[in-house]
């Protein structure tokens, strides 16, 4: 399993699209830095809004990209047969396949966002609220990856990217949908409610959220991650049995 994780991490370091994403992330931070200089009044808010916002979306995109790219690959290039004849259980194989890109994604998010936090701290002040927010962005990215991996097992690359993005945007608009009279209550159980992870407005205006909100949001994200993990495993096992 470790060998599989290492292999995927290794190849991701040479992935051209991810390199471009990282470069774009760094550029966006510098852009935010530049823009705050030409802003009157609340430069730190501009820096946070723009810098964190762009980074957040880039990581979500990376999560969707990684999930849909690596879910089906082993089945399409038939490399799965080389693993199935070796002494490795299906669960370990699944873990190896899902954890490699996930580990890479988490490291990418964690180190970039931590750098952003340190940078913000150097410029203004070290914010514990921002640090907690970074944790929520990380959680949301992992959830997006799991969603995308699950969808990616079902559909081809381009299609799965579209479907998982659609699921994400539906989830983002849940706060609006659930307020409507026509929306049934059970709809909230179909997709993860991504609107629950919204915290930026509070961060920008320094209105810290209660501890209960952080706990519930984290738990909610973890539950959906576990759900997608098991659904993906069931599908992965089924696909392996159909492969030969």
């Amino acid at each position: 399993m470790k060998s599989l994780i290492f292999l995927d991490c290794y190849r991701l370091f040479s992935d051209k699209i991810l390199k471009k994403i990282l470069i774009f992330a760094l550029l966006s931070v510098f852009l935010a830095l530049g823009l705050k200089e030409v802003t009157y009044g609340v430069p730190h808010r501009i820096f946070l809004d723009l810098g964190l916002g762009i980074l957040h979306w880039l990581f979500l995109f990376s999560a969707f990209y990684l999930g849909q790219k690596y879910a089906r690959e082993g089945f399409e290039n038939k490399s799965m047969i080389l693993y199935k004849v070796r002494p490795i259980s299906t669960f370990s194989l699944f873990l190896g396949k899902i954890l490699g890109p996930l580990l890479f994604l988490c490291s990418l998010c964690f180190f970039t966002l931590l750098s952003f936090w340190l940078f913000y701290g150097l410029l203004y002040s070290y914010s514990f609220f921002l640090l907690k927010g970074i944790g929520i962005i990380l959680l949301e990215s992992v959830l997006c990856y799991m969603l995308s991996f699950f969808v990616g097992l079902n559909f081809q690359q381009g299609v799965s990217l579209l479907i998982s993005s659609a699921c994400f945007f539906i989830g983002k608009s849940f706060s609006f949908i659930l307020k409507q009279d026509f929306s049934p209550a059970w709809i909230g159980a179909l997709f993860p409610d991504f609107s629950r992870f919204e915290f930026k407005q509070h961060l920008l205006y320094q209105q810290d959220l209660p501890l209960f909100w952080w706990l519930v949001t984290t738990l909610y994200g973890l539950i959906w991650i576990v759900i997608f993990f098991f659904l993906s495993f069931i599908l992965f096992r089924k696909k392996i049995s159909q492969l030969f």
């Binding site: 060998s3 292999l7 290794y10 190849r11 040479s14 290039n77 038939k78 490399s79 047969i81 080389l82 693993y83 199935k84 004849v85 070796r86 002494p87 490795i88 259980s89 030969f244």
Partner: protein
């Protein structure tokens, strides 16, 4: 060592019907027959990747008590090399061999990789990325990945296709040395070149029209069976497709 008992397998159409045979515990077994007549399917069944729809496949305890043990004692090379172009040859071998060897034997594995790669004249290319490899080099690499742990039962699907004459000779001599009848190891291979089969195999299985056409000793096969007829059906089907 491996027993097929009245095995039946169907995909969209039946591919194997009432196949029964037992393989010897050592030496080289060749599975031959026209394309699409169940050779690879029967290999996948021996690898426990495919269960039979009817009948049963039994494995001798010398191959392992359970599936996990059997996987440790088996090696498999598919017909088409499956490669990761972003890795170097050495990295590829380290990756696939890591499943068979405990971590502590790292130096031992490196030595084995070096020895076998040098034997097959691939040693000097091991540091290169696989994307620059020729088909024959990929074939050799896949072979090393499947055979480095000296499996008790090695299953090779058309191992000589894609190799140049020199590569074929090297591979043959390696297999003859390690999978002789006295070695207590079994090599199961498929192929189409009868001269190679005659040279390598001591035991032959012929699958044709979903049935087991022949199972027996090499000498018996080449002295009694009209070998041209085995591939006649394939030739006829190909002509019909062309028409």
């Amino acid at each position: 060592m491996i027993y097929f008992r009245q095995v039946y397998k169907k995909f969209t159409q039946p591919i194997l019907e009432d196949i029964s045979f037992s393989l010897p515990s050592s030496g080289v077994v060749a599975v031959i027959g026209p394309n699409g007549h169940g050779k690879t399917t029967s290999l996948k069944m021996m690898l426990e990747l495919l269960p039979p729809d009817q009948g049963e496949i039994l494995f001798d305890s010398s191959l392992g008590k359970n599936q996990k043990e059997r996987k440790y004692r088996r090696g498999f090379m598919p017909e088409r090399p499956i490669i990761f172009p972003f890795l170097s040859g050495r990295e590829y071998l380290r990756h696939f061999c890591s499943f068979y060897f405990p971590k502590k034997s790292k130096e031992d594995v490196e030595e084995k990789i070096e020895n076998l790669a040098n034997y097959l004249e691939l040693g000097k290319f091991l540091e290169q990325k696989i994307e620059g490899y020729s088909k024959g080099m990929c074939q050799k690499l896949c072979f090393i990945a499947s055979a480095l742990h000296l499996p008790q039962c090695l299953i090779l699907d058309e191992p000589f296709s894609g190799l140049d004459p020199r590569g074929r000779d090297l591979l043959k001599s390696y297999l003859k040395e390690h999978y002789s009848p006295s070695s207590q190891k079994l090599l199961i291979m498929t192929g189409h070149v009868l001269a190679e089969i005659e040279e390598m195999a001591q035991y032959i299985l012929v699958l044709q029209n979903k049935k087991l056409h022949f199972a027996g000793e090499n000498k018996h096969f080449f002295s009694t069976i009209d070998t041209q007829k085995i591939f006649e059906h394939q030739f006829e089907s190909e002509v019909n497709i062309d028409r």
